[in-house]
Symmetry: C2
Subunit: 264 residues, 2 copies
């Protein structure tokens, strides 16, 4: 890539995407800026999905929702264009992945509503800043994620299990992480569970449903957070005729600073 | 009224409404249970209003939103019926108040979506429990409310000014109140302003736009909170062909305890 995007702004990363210079994953880029999940749906599916997010705020913390047809999320990234400003997308028809483009301009329609949803990178940065270790970052793999036996609150045509991510921590760090993450309600907030994985329907932490396994050391508890894969799972289950999401790991960079998500 | 509803449950108060025994205001009833504002709209207006609440969470903290046609807010009051379980309602046509019934069964339609919205009674109870005085309760009048020059974030056909409520406090109590109310994000949360009323476009605190004036004593600051009248003002401005709200002060009693709104 032409410039070092690690210390760039969110707007710099979006511009690099728009120019076609960035088509890879975004973790570690524009450090300190909030990264977000993207879900795009036709308006006649948007009410149900907005309701699903409202009823399930821990896995689906909404940062911005656009008016139908408007590709600009005015509150988190004024001047941006969701059709061009992500590195890569996934296009879905009837619940099937049909394309992974780097630009969705040709798919755009006047009835599309975009949902910009908070992601765990925000609280992981806060944990690292407080010297709470994040194992999958240490091990340079993807975070382990699991389907649970906790059902999300259904909303219209959307339903599905809560998906969680897991980070192993000592009891002391688990308390510290809970305090820190409680401040980030719009980035999944406090953990939903800690300790016995079976209590939330996870048979084997060594076998995640998504992402990679990480080491849980002696004296550590597995700590579970609501995960942004939850809305994608609900989407795949509902099978709307048309939808667009970001490609996993290829997030939307906002103008919001991590610290600005700290608080209400 | 047949029974003392002060120490009743939320369900007791709803049952009294349903039997037609309670048609008066609800402040002070079912102490410790969350009271809520009600807004009912046809489905084709519901997406815009849901988006308005999502974009303006401080004045419009959503506690529950029903599926179209379903009169039961399953998450905050399972088994309840929003058509009969409030003491009194207001029916609006094209932004005009046309009726104040005590039952809305005859107005019900299959396309109506109900929004149950948090209210300040929750945090006022918490303030009183912490020995922070609430002047309008002391003076036995309605809380003073003001239109501000802060515009809400527009959502489709809904827009309007932020309406705030005011409680005068000493600087020490203002800090204490801020700490307490920060815990109640779904009951308007922390204050939006304190001190100079002109800074948010209020000319004279002695002349509220809604409710009653209260005394601001020497050494006290006026402290301003986002207010649940905001969505009603947006509703009156948007003039949907049909809407139903609660009659002011005649709230919906949920099964949720005040303490359960403390936290995420």
């Amino acid at each position: 890539m032409a410039v070092d995007l690690r210390n760039a702004t969110g707007a710099d990363v979006r511009a690099a995407c728009r120019r076609g210079e960035l088509t890879g994953p975004t973790p570690g880029l524009a450090l300190g800026y909030v990264q977000a999940n993207l879900v795009v749906l036709p308006r006649d599916w948007a009410f149900d999905f907005l309701l699903f997010c409202q009823r399930n705020p821990k896995p689906c913390p909404l940062l911005d929702v656009t008016e139908p047809g408007d590709p600009e999320p005015k509150f988190v990234a004024p001047g941006s264009d969701l059709r061009t400003d992500l590195p890569a997308y996934r296009v879905w028809r009837n619940g099937e992945l049909v394309e992974e483009p780097t630009d969705i301009s040709k798919h755009w329609r006047d009835d599309l509503v975009s949902f910009v949803i908070g992601c765990s990178f925000t609280f992981e940065n806060a944990l690292l800043a407080a010297n709470v270790p994040v194992r999958h970052i240490e091990q340079n793999v993807n975070v382990p994620m699991y389907r649970t036996n906790i059902e999300c609150r259904r909303a219209g045509r959307f339903s599905g299990p809560l998906v969680v991510s897991m980070r192993p921590l000592t009891p002391g760090d688990a308390v510290k992480a809970t305090k820190i993450c409680s401040r980030f309600a719009r980035a999944h907030g406090a953990p939903v569970h800690l300790g016995d994985p079976a209590a939330i329907g996870i048979r084997d932490v060594a076998k995640p449903d998504f992402g990679d396994a990480v080491e849980v050391r002696a004296g550590e508890l597995p700590v579970f957070w609501a995960c942004g894969v939850t809305p994608q799972a609900a989407l795949m289950q509902a099978k709307p005729p048309f939808a667009i999401t970001h490609k996993p790991g290829h997030m939307f960079l906002t103008d919001v600073r991590d610290v600005d998500l700290d608080g209400e």
